[in-house]
């Protein structure tokens, strides 16, 4: 290892985000295409902050109707009851399966909120040029990318409950208006984790001094 930690960008090299090939572009202003896979090259993901902020803000807005509106409505001959995500968790808890209640609570409430908070934190620290806790922030981004998909759990639960419980007129379950909003939160936060370029975390820390 050489003594100084040098980023590829500082040395004038670009790595292709698709195939990983390292190349030196002819002109720094116009990196062009990867000589191996032909994908367009960029020093950093284009408009990373704008895209990620836009997606995070949109997801935060959708998060409210996703939790306030019902996700499932159960119709029987005599009654009709609606459940939100939170009341579904409480139902699972009171009906005796607290491990499942915990799983749904983590996947549907804690992971989406944690993702929004984490992405906002990463954006703010990177835009302020923070050089602190770079390792932890890189790890946070990896965790957000890895666990984001598990929030889709509740959408699948609702889908299969609705698909199975269609015993008209005895009993039927229909999806509530909260489902599309919740699904949008999951998709938007997954996209936000993808548009954020983790290399920015290290750019401030590795900037040449003096």
């Amino acid at each position: 290892m050489s003594a100084a930690a040098l980023s590829a960008a500082q040395a004038g090299f670009l790595s292709c985000e698709i195939c990983g090939l390292l190349s030196r572009p002819a002109a720094a202003a116009q990196p062009g295409h990867c000589p191996r896979c032909g994908a367009p090259l960029a020093w950093r993901r284009h408009h990373s902050f704008q895209y990620t902020w836009a997606l995070v803000i949109a997801a935060a807005i959708f998060y409210i109707p996703a939790n306030v509106l019902p996700v499932l409505t159960t119709n029987t001959l005599v009654s009709s009851t609606s459940d939100t995500i939170m009341s579904g968790v409480i139902y699972l808890y009171t009906s005796g399966s607290w491990p499942l209640a915990l799983i749904v609570l983590v996947a549907s409430v804690m992971i989406p909120l944690g993702k929004l908070a984490t992405l906002a934190y990463l954006l703010v620290t990177v835009q302020r040029g923070s050089v602190k806790s770079t390792h932890d922030r890189t790890r946070l981004h990896r965790i957000v990318e890895l666990i984001g998909r598990w929030s889709m759990l509740d959408v699948f639960v609702d889908t299969f409950v609705v698909a199975l419980v269609q015993l008209q007129p005895l009993m039927s379950v229909e999806p509530g208006p909260g489902v599309p909003f919740f699904m949008a939160v999951v998709v938007l936060t997954m996209l936000a984790a993808q548009t954020f370029d983790p290399r920015f975390i290290w750019d401030a820390a590795g900037a040449p001094r003096g």
Partner: protein
């Protein structure tokens, strides 16, 4: 240095640190010196084993998508559903966008991922593979985070327990197939190294992979 050809220069995808990958013994892993990201894994058999797993996954996928996932029995009435049947019922209930996303994550993304991988792994058996192989690998990469078989499986289990209070639920063949698919896809991710494919694909600028590997792609 004589090791210039074997110690391959790379940039870490997570922190952009410029470093050289030493030649790795089989089974070894190289991590980024700064942020710890896994940069390369030297697999003993990076193409044949993934191919075997992909072929198996393709067969299991067909069963998972056609066989009934589970059935329900209440007061003498019966109902059953398949994977795509779940998404279809969402559509019928007026949640079209949700239905499309559920169908994408449960059926379309896993199926496309397996099909693309199958094509890629078959096409790279005779290098240099044509350029579209790289393009397909890119598409497989794109599909991968949206292929949510394991999330769906947990969702099915939670749904079963919710319904179990109301009616008798019978797990179907499709459910076991989804379980097998999850294991196969996880094994495929571990057994596959995209570098092995990229090393065999013809370059966009027209060079053949073996000549190009020694050429200007390497940092000087």
């Amino acid at each position: 240095m004589a090791s210039g050809l074997t110690a391959q220069p790379v940039a870490c995808p997570d922190c952009d640190l410029l470093q050289r990958l030493p030649p790795l013994p089989p089974g070894a892993k190289a991590r980024c010196a700064r942020c710890g990201k896994t940069l390369a894994v030297q697999l003993a058999d990076p193409l044949d084993r993934p191919l075997a797993l992909t072929v198996t996954a393709a067969i299991v996928l067909i069963i998972a998508n056609t066989a009934p996932l589970m059935g329900l029995e209440a007061a003498g009435r019966q109902a059953s559903t398949t994977l795509i049947g779940g998404a279809y019922q969402m559509w019928l209930q007026g949640r079209e966008i949700t239905a499309v996303v559920v169908a994408f994550c449960a059926v379309i993304a896993p199926t496309s991922y397996v099909l693309f991988m199958l094509t890629v792994l078959l096409a790279v058996r005779r290098p240099p593979a044509p350029r579209w192989v790289g393009e397909l690998l890119r598409w497989a990469d794109f599909m991968q985070p949206w292929s949510m078989s394991e999330v769906m499986m947990l969702g099915i289990l939670v749904a079963l327990i919710k319904i179990a209070a109301l009616a008798r639920v019978i797990p179907g063949v499709g459910m076991y197939a989804v379980g097998a698919l999850i294991v196969l896809l996880a094994a495929l991710m571990i057994a596959f190294d995209p570098r092995a494919v990229w090393e065999r694909v013809a370059w966009a600028d027209g060079r053949s992979p073996s000549a190009a590997a020694l050429g200007a792609g390497a940092a000087r």
